[in-house]
Symmetry: C2
Subunit: 326 residues, 2 copies
């Protein structure tokens, strides 16, 4: 089968589609004939050697796919050959076929296309686990979501509105601000033109927000701590500006703040299953009613994989980038 | 009345006992005739101008006292003149008389002396609020308490054992190790001779501990994050090595750790009251049964206040330092 390894061609520095053996289905797995692949920022980091994938995972890139089940493991009883599913892959998604644990697959919402369904697993699992669970987002609370026009931002804004929160988001330009407002954000802050700390403290009468979802780090971290309210929580899902950060802990002590965070890939098998089941229960019905939507910025063919990565790295997109096979 | 202001004599750099007006009792306050005063590390910081006390608080040092109620505010109904109490003072404790909100006082455990009772409020409120509440310490969990021989360490070790936790603590010498074991610590780690990270990872088969209580910061922070288990919590109550810390956030993301913390003085009036009521309900009976004890290292007269501060700064003590009036 055709697949894309994590290591680019050393001369051209481009990803290449190569021929590899099809993966083998174990007892608890399903083999998905891939229709669409969601591109995620960790894919870029992995390509650049900046993302240590879990030991034993596939050297093929790709964390989320949609497609049709072609084969099921002996112990799989709740999914069948022919089912249209999307899944959180343990790597291996940039391929014609991928093996995914059945526990990490969900049947596609009935109203979505394959490209749309490929946008769901990684970003909605990330937003749920971090914003709803670690951030303990409650109805009536206020939240600042950095990078609201990113894939995770798109999911996080919609989950926060579903929870009944007031949503601030930071964006780089007016186009992204429009996008974020369209999908539900209450206020989009053009950063760095407008200092998000000053804006939020002004809007909240010096009170601050309850929860912040951040993937940037660096100089954002201390500003984040400054614009949290007493007992507030900063949830980090990445550190685009680097994992080493100088933190001023005075606001944390005085306001008894919490800094927490997680990556999905490092979570246990059962934890991913649990979150996927919660999405199926609470969010899939909302998607099927059209209240929550995946937003695709651009679709590419498999051969355009490098163009898709270039667009992701440019950060000019709003929402998801998707690869379609066939 | 006699009292000690936060500002030392500029020539001698010593604290001085001076004459000031007695404080006035408001509707919800009690006036305590002070018998004993607990010395705390924030007193040292405040003396040195490194601790910004809350706006409007007394310029007289002192955060915890024991004594006899001499006067009560009109709205105080659950305490009476003549009651022996200990209290969490909003400052003003280094004095012959201090006004404390009635809500922040408790009647002394019946079996304790005034010096013993003066050791309770600040350190037990700190340990309860941070270790039990923010750290969510559970029965059967494991905890690392840095500086176990400090006043807060002494309270934290005993509360952790009361909760049924396995307690590791770091200490500077063998005498402190003996002290910590005597009051309940399961393992006392002589740091820096023995690297506490290596020790804990070895003892826990690479699993790490559930909760860490730290007042040091600096180079401890990254080691702390490295020796927490998945989902573990680092609770900071101070940063003796400075509030600005370079943090490597990779362990936080991969193990979905939590960093949190608080100071007691910055908490709200009602929050302090709530914690004091919980101590009264759960910990006072344990003290009266002799299962939890305040440990006094040395008692001083009021005139020896500078000697007491020197001893605190030397950090050679184990447990509390107390000033007795009269």
């Amino acid at each position: 089968m055709k697949a894309v390894l994590e290591t680019p061609n050393k001369k051209t520095n481009k990803l290449e589609i190569i021929d590899v053996h099809s993966p083998i289905v174990a007892l608890e797995d399903v083999l998905i004939r891939v229709k669409s692949i969601g591109i995620n920022r960790p894919d870029i980091l992995q390509k650049k050697g900046k993302y240590a994938r879990p030991p034993g995972s596939s050297p093929i890139l790709g964390l989320e796919v949609s497609g049709v089940i072609e084969e099921i493991g002996e112990n799989v009883h709740f999914l069948n050959v022919g089912d249209k599913v999307c899944g959180l892959a343990p790597g291996g998604g940039y391929a014609e076929k991928v093996v995914v644990p059945a526990a990490h697959c969900i049947k596609m919402p009935v109203n979505l296309t394959f490209p749309q369904a490929a946008c769901l697993p990684e970003v909605f699992v990330t937003a749920w686990a971090n914003l709803i669970e670690l951030g303990k987002l409650k109805t009536g609370s206020s939240v600042l979501i950095h990078g609201g026009s990113s894939g995770v931002g798109m999911a996080a804004i919609q989950l926060a509105k579903w929870k009944g929160s007031f949503v601030y988001t930071t964006v780089r330009n007016k186009k992204k601000a429009e996008f974020c407002k369209k999908i539900g954000a209450d206020k989009a802050i053009l950063y760095p033109e407008i200092n998000f700390h000053d804006f939020i403290m002004d809007q909240t009468y010096g009170h601050g927000v309850d929860v912040i979802l951040d993937m940037v780090g660096g100089d954002y971290t201390n500003l984040n701590l400054k614009c949290l309210t007493i007992g507030g929580t900063l949830v980090q899902i990445a550190f685009i500006k680097g994992f080493r950060n100088e933190v001023n802990f005075i606001p944390l002590l005085l306001k008894r703040l919490t800094i927490t965070g997680s990556t999905i890939r490092a979570r246990s098998f059962s934890d991913k299953h649990r979150i996927i089941q919660l999405l199926k229960k609470y969010i899939w019905p909302e998607i099927e009613r059209g209240r929550i939507k995946p937003y695709i910025f651009k679709e590419f063919s498999f051969k355009q994989i490098n163009e898709a990565h270039e667009l992701m790295e440019s950060s000019i997109h709003c929402g998801k980038l998707v690869i379609n096979l066939d």
